[in-house]
């Protein structure tokens, strides 16, 4: 099969995104649960709803944003299209579509993972067990990533897989940072201070970045250092810069190795993004961290739309399935 169907390219791209999104959502829930063990607990859970712009839907369907209700909404609620269960359900459904292309092991793992998740009862996500649930999700998603790395045939399909995964990861890292912005950074004057280290600590750990951060900054921990690390450090696989770098590599590969025409507009959006990232944390703070993250998300989205239009065969007017 020498030519990848546009529909398959799209399904690969989104399968990678859905799994990455599920993993990152587990990370956000995990860190929120850690944060919520204090007096502002309730506010923490509500902030997730704002982060994903789900507050109106949630209050219409579920009323008050209690911890239990928000957790259920984002974990096992099959009516919420952005729950972990729904994301993995869509990933599995894409994998089913892709079975002619992907390895049997990739499909089997997602199939079993999803069926196992679907069988879980409400007691499995109650707050005392939430950390364990999140670990299970992270592990399942990482198993998928590992199997994919070890078994998925390396051709154009692999590029689309990486494009989806890295774009989603970059987007989620900005959200993870943004979600904790209000809680961990009460006022601009505190940026350089040592306050509330435990929270930044938790944030880094939720992105599996604590030890890497310590390598770069053996002593101390300022909010600016952490945010800069998560945004710009090219050696940290979840940093926005590292993800965007990977996206650039794959786009170039598609264009010059696989001779796929029509990646021009996507390359243009990529350049915009690179320009935006060509700064340091001081510049970001001057601009406003929240505003900056917002803009990065907009640019990532614009890039994603161009990839859909240029490479995945979406009709010009169509928006992504997000």
């Amino acid at each position: 099969m020498s030519n990848l169907l546009s529909r398959y390219a799209d399904a690969i791209f989104w399968m990678a995104r859905y799994v990455e999104r599920a993993e990152d959502l587990a990370r956000v829930l995990d860190v929120t649960e850690t944060f919520s063990r204090d007096s502002r607990g309730g506010q923490n859970w509500r902030s997730i709803l704002e982060l994903y712009s789900d507050a109106p839907t949630f209050s219409r369907e579920h009323g008050e944003a209690t911890a239990a209700a928000v957790i259920r909404f984002y974990t096992l609620d099959d009516r919420n299209p952005s729950s972990i269960l729904s994301n993995l359900g869509m990933a599995r459904s894409n994998a089913r579509t892709l079975r002619p292309l992907i390895s049997t092991e990739m499909w089997t793992q997602l199939n079993i993972f999803y069926n196992r998740l679907r069988a879980l009862g409400p007691q499995e996500i109650a707050e005392p067990r939430l950390a364990r649930f999140c670990s299970m999700i992270k592990e399942g998603c990482q198993t998928h990533t590992g199997i994919t790395e070890g078994t998925f045939y390396r051709d154009e399909g692999w590029c689309f897989y990486q494009l989806g995964k890295q774009l989603e990861r970059a987007d989620q890292t900005t959200r993870l940072l943004d979600s904790k912005y209000h809680n961990v950074l009460p006022s601009p004057e505190d940026v350089g201070s040592q306050i509330d280290v435990s929270r930044w600590n938790a944030l880094l750990r939720s992105a599996a970045g604590y030890h890497a951060f310590r390598k770069i900054h053996p002593r101390g921990m300022t909010p600016g250092d952490v945010a800069g690390f998560m945004l710009f450090h090219e050696g940290f696989p979840r940093s926005v810069a590292a993800c965007v770098d990977e996206v650039g590599g794959r786009l170039t590969q598609l264009r010059s190795v696989y001779n796929i025409p029509g990646a021009t507009a996507a390359m243009g959006r990529l350049d915009d993004l690179r320009t935006l990232l060509d700064t340091d944390i001081d510049g970001v703070i001057e601009f406003g961290l929240h505003e900056y993250l917002d803009r990065v998300q907009q640019y990532l989205n614009a890039l994603s739309v161009e990839i859909g239009r240029d490479l995945l065969g979406h009709a010009p007017a169509a928006t992504s399935a997000k």
Binding site: N3, L5, P100, T104, N111, I260, P261
Partner: protein
């Protein structure tokens, strides 16, 4: 052969209940058929617990691999596996030789008949088949009249449903010349057997079925439009919601071809293309797993969303090949079935190798008289209906029902056929109560491009409910690995 030793252990209490048994042979069970001896001995050494445990593992594997068909209820889509029975169904070499040549003969006759129906129509002029049997069939496609297809092959993939009577004779119960399914289970059941029961199959002279995909791909390559050296073949599926979607995936993978849906294909200037990341690429052969009706909204059902507008015109022009051809449905329905032995003699000047179940046509004088005289012994079926509607089972019918049936037949004789009650052979099958006889049938698969190849195996379906003769997966049927022995 030590008969006493064999009837200990797992098969000690097994009794075929007066039926022909695929493991022991004739109903008496006195002298078990020799070709199953090694298998029987191996089974005897196994404990019921071990068999059960491994059978369970095998079914779990089917579920985890997603080797499933989908059942839709109002609320949910449920993935079901086709239950796998661990005890294989062996077929000895001599019997297989008969089956293979019988199936080949039947497929050849079907293709000759289809060619004739859509071109010369000698079969009607020579009064072999009454024209209305074909022309009143909704599956007749006037669009195919006069259209040439490569090698005059219409039914590239043909499935024959075979059953075995108490005396051990195989009969053809049904032909499937449209989109026969089930071949993925033939191959996957073997894989499952090799993985979960290696000790049963090890060193047994079982013929391999794993090259089905390559044989099919080769046949599809043969029918590509002239002048195309390296044809692009695709498998056209209705999509992930189709209950046979697993099989479509399986075949696309085995053949190394793209699995496409209608929306992936477009036509331009009477040629078919597939949408890829490099733009539109030409397609030369389509193995389609969607019905004639749905193929092309411009030529057939205008409401079809599954098809490809303009596909038929490209096919007409010879720019793309379809397997199976359009309009094969006239060859595999109940009405035509009764004529198959005559068609074999007519086209091939040979006696049928595999008999039909004896079928009395009430449209013919002798058939009518015989049916009326033996109404309480026969199964009476309307020719036009599907799904068991309107059937009268003589031995189970009341006097009033038989009288009603008689009046219906006399009212419109050409609408009715009758057949004797036929019993299906049984095979030892693992059920809740242990190992018991259950009725089985056999679907064989024949692939025809330039020539016909019959896969040395098939799908043995088993009715898991006690006494049931219904082997369909939708009605509690399972399947067995079918061993064609060398």
């Amino acid at each position: 052969m030590n008969e006493v030793a064999e009837r200990t252990g797992l098969l000690a209490d097994y009794d075929s209940g007066g039926r022909y048994c695929e493991m022991f042979g004739p109903p008496s069970m006195q002298a078990p058929i020799p070709h199953t001896q090694a298998l029987r001995e191996r089974l005897t050494r196994m404990s019921l617990e071990d068999l059960r445990e491994r059978a369970h593992d095998a079914e779990l594997e089917l579920y985890n691999f997603g080797i499933t068909f989908t059942v839709y209820t109002q609320k949910d889509a449920i993935d079901r596996i086709l239950p796998f029975d661990a005890i294989p169904r062996p077929i000895p070499p001599d019997e297989w030789q008969t089956l293979e040549s019988g199936v080949r003969q039947r497929v050849t006759a079907i293709n000759r008949f289809l060619r004739d129906v859509y071109h010369e129509r000698r079969v009607f002029n020579d009064r072999i088949v009454p024209p209305d049997v074909v022309f009143s069939n909704p599956n007749y496609r006037p669009e195919m009249e006069g259209l040439e297809v490569p090698f005059d092959t219409y039914a590239h993939i043909d499935g024959s449903d075979l059953i075995r009577d108490d005396d051990g004779t195989f009969y053809v119960l049904e032909d499937n010349a449209r989109c026969p399914s089930g071949v993925s289970y033939m191959v996957e059941n073997r894989h499952l057997m090799l993985r979960t029961f290696p000790d049963l199959i090890e060193d047994q002279p079982v013929r391999s079925v794993s090259n089905y995909g390559q044989r099919l791909r080769a046949a599809l390559g043969e029918i590509a439009p002239e002048g195309v050296d390296d044809p692009t073949v695709v498998l056209l599926s209705p999509g992930t919601y189709n209950s046979a979607y697993f099989e479509h995936i399986f075949l696309a993978r085995e053949m190394g071809v793209a699995l496409v849906e209608g929306r992936d294909l477009v036509t331009e200037y009477d040629r078919v293309y597939v949408r890829t990341i490099r733009g539109l690429q030409p397609v030369h052969v389509i193995y389609r797993r969607i019905n004639d009706d749905a193929l092309d909204p411009r030529a057939f059902d205008p409401n079809s969303l599954l098809g490809v507008p303009g596909l038929f015109q490209a096919y007409r022009k010879g720019n793309v090949a379809l397997a199976n051809a359009i309009g094969t449905g006239v060859a595999d329905d109940k009405a035509l079935y009764a004529y198959m032995p005559r068609l074999i003699r007519y086209y091939l000047d040979e006696d049928p190798i595999l008999p039909n179940v004896q079928t009395n046509l009430c449209r013919e004088k002798e058939g009518l008289q015989y049916t009326l005289d033996h109404l309480d012994e026969l199964v009476v079926k309307p020719v036009g209906e599907a799904g068991g509607y309107g059937i009268t089972v003589g031995p189970h019918a009341t006097k009033d029902e038989l009288e009603h049936c008689r009046r219906q037949i006399l009212d419109r004789p050409h609408n009715w056929i009758s057949q004797p009650m036929i019993s299906l052979s049984v095979a030892p099958t693992l059920v809740d109560g242990g190992i018991e006889p259950r009725h089985v049938d056999l679907r064989t698969f024949a692939v025809t491009g330039r020539d016909t190849w019959v896969a040395p195996g098939g799908l043995s379906r088993v009715a898991l409910r006690k006494g049931s003769l219904i082997v369909n997966s939708s009605q509690g049927g399972g399947s067995k690995d079918t061993w064609v022995l060398e």
